[in-house]
């Protein structure tokens, strides 16, 4: 992948901003609130794309619905803004339909672990070869601050006005226990570590799950009187605890409690497609015809 290909089809010079060539600058300004963490994470992801020099022409990004669901729409890649919760199965189809693609799912906690939770666990179980970036802001942002499957106990949301009494997901533990071979968590304060993790994950295979804790000052912070986005970043600074290889059972997140960060899982494991090829080669021998890397499309 050459830098020339990377800067194709964009009229924005890299000198304007180092990640401008990776964005749809004709769609700026974006819709995210001031001090929202999603933009920072997009910056880290674009930096990782730049560092790894992956072939951007063969890179697709898929989002669901919600604040983070808008990420696909701002990335200058083949980009799919799909239905609520279905980014992972949509991405599964893309990857299996054209196996040479590098497919990233970029969406939020409500989208991927609430309405789309079933797809998350099954993609991890099958080890579908996609990179899954989940931005966790502990709340449904786009719809106005409703309770999420990630809202910490006792935190307030617009639908838990007296505080949340449900147990939230420990998402890194969920992904790891379902078999994801690469599992990490950072907050969006950890921009260098996050970029490094994205870059590493881009070159790994299988279902790579990266959770990024992000501030939502408009809703989560306001409803819980936690101050501004900057105050939340300060909170991450004081309360994030980096522990690579930690037992993910310890990674639960309580309200205004410590946030365990790091790379928790990084193992070699055959992907769905590799297992399928291996199995059919064994059982069918020469009769097995795998799908071509460019897909099973029929053309003249």
């Amino acid at each position: 992948m050459s830098t020339t290909t990377q800067s194709l089809h964009t009229n924005v010079d890299a000198s304007e901003h180092p990640i401008a060539p990776f964005l749809r600058m004709d769609r700026m300004p974006h819709i995210w609130c001031p001090t929202c963490g999603i933009g920072t994470i997009v910056k880290c992801f674009a930096s990782a794309l730049e560092q790894t020099k992956v072939d951007l022409d063969k890179t697709s990004i898929v989002s669901g619905i919600g604040c983070t669901g808008r990420v696909a729409g701002y990335m200058k890649l083949d980009a799919f803004h799909t239905t609520h919760g279905r980014a992972i199965p949509f991405a599964t189809g893309l990857k299996l339909g054209r196996p040479e693609l590098l497919v990233t799912v970029f969406s939020g906690d409500g989208d991927l672990s609430g309405i789309g939770g079933n797809h998350l666990i099954h993609a991890a179980r099958r080890n579908i070869d996609i990179l899954c970036i989940l931005v966790n802001n502990f709340i449904y942002g786009m719809t106005g601050g409703q309770n999420a499957p990630t809202t910490p106990v006792s935190a307030r949301s617009s639908t838990m006005p007296y505080g949340n009494f449900e147990h939230p997901f420990n998402l890194v533990h969920l992904a790891a226990s379902c078999g994801a071979p690469y599992v990490a968590r950072w907050t969006c304060l950890h921009i260098r570590r996050l970029t490094k993790t994205f870059a590493e994950a881009l070159t790994r295979k299988g279902f790579r799950f990266i959770e990024v804790i992000a501030p939502c000052s408009t809703l989560y912070a306001r409803l819980n009187k936690l101050g501004s986005g900057l105050d939340l970043m300060r909170f991450y600074h004081d309360n994030a605890e980096i522990k690579h290889g930690a037992d993910t059972r310890e990674a639960e997140i309580g309200f205004q409690d410590r946030i365990l960060c790091g790379k928790f899982v990084d193992i070699e494991k055959p992907t769905f497609t590799e297992l399928m090829h291996e199995h059919y080669t064994k059982t069918l021998g020469d009769r097995f015809v795998p799908m071509k890397p460019e897909g099973g499309w029929i053309h003249e």
């Binding site: 279905r86 199965p89 893309l94 079933n118």
Partner: protein, 385 residues
Amino acid sequence: MKADPAGVLTGVHYLDGDFACGEGAMAAGCRFVAGYPITPSTEVVERISRRFPMMGGTFIQMEDELASMAAVVGAAWTGTKSMTVTSGPGFSLMMENIGLGAMMETPCVVVNVQRGGPSTGLPTMAGQADMMQARWGSHGDYEPIALSPRSPQEAFDFTIDAFNLAEQYRVPVFVMMDECVGHMTEKVVIPPAEEIEIVPRKLTEKPPGEYLPYQNNGNKVPEFARAGDGYRFHTTGLTHDERGYPEMSEECQEKNVSRLLEKIRGSADKITRFVENETDGADVVVLSYGITARVARMGIDLARKKGVKVGEIRLEVVWPFPEKRIRELSKKVKAFVVPEINYGQMVLEVERCAAGRAGAILVPHAGGGVHDPESISSAILGAVK
């Protein structure tokens, strides 16, 4: 172009409708199927999962029908022809991403082997009560295409037609089978690959900088770019402009939705397909589709023996509905008799097109079997009294 021989099982076979449908998909060039088991449709994917590994196809059994349909829409964007298969309860779950497929203008095929409903209904027994769901099931305005086979041979043929129509108009196309056809075993002739006409996907020839994913190219069907070909396009389920960028305005909504509707409505005469017999001078015309068309034939013969002039319209393509022809006929006949395995769905279309000029008499059946031919013949006799 002609079919890829790898997917064509040329010969004379004794197959049930489900297997024949699976063979039709493979002959049409389908190479990605995502599905979730549901009676009475499962044999379609069982057939495909057995044969796909030998022709470069990938089958995946997803965690549910929401995921199956999402995966099919995703795979279709790679250019790989894609399909899912289900029955009523699964069809309900698929509606979400059928809407996405319609909005993103994604060529793909959805087979619904109908059973009795509502809800879990009669899993192992016939129904035709999802016809309006095929038309209106997902929210918002869009125009689907649907076909309804009456035999295993048609299950094979119409599944190929469904893929061709999906490619031509960039819409999800439905094959509305029923349990009876799905589980009925008959002779199926699969021709040689060079005799099967395939519509290939029309890829854009424009360079990436000039390509607009949703540009109206005169016939209202935009040109396609595959994911991974360097176009770096954007597509969304949100209302979008020609660039595929979301735009929340009445003007953009009007432009977007009217083109989605017009690309089908404007070509309805080319898409609608039906068989018409002995309607000249007929007092009554029986309109039917799927398995019911075969029972209706017996009902028609019984009525003829009693001297009634009965014509027949058998729908092959059920959506879009042949409005024009029904309007014309309504000026000449006394009544249409519409037997269907539901309590009145396609009859509503007949009634709408007849607009009081001719009667529209439903012969209902709640599901679980097919009509007694006599119920149809007595409705015909009643219509001319």
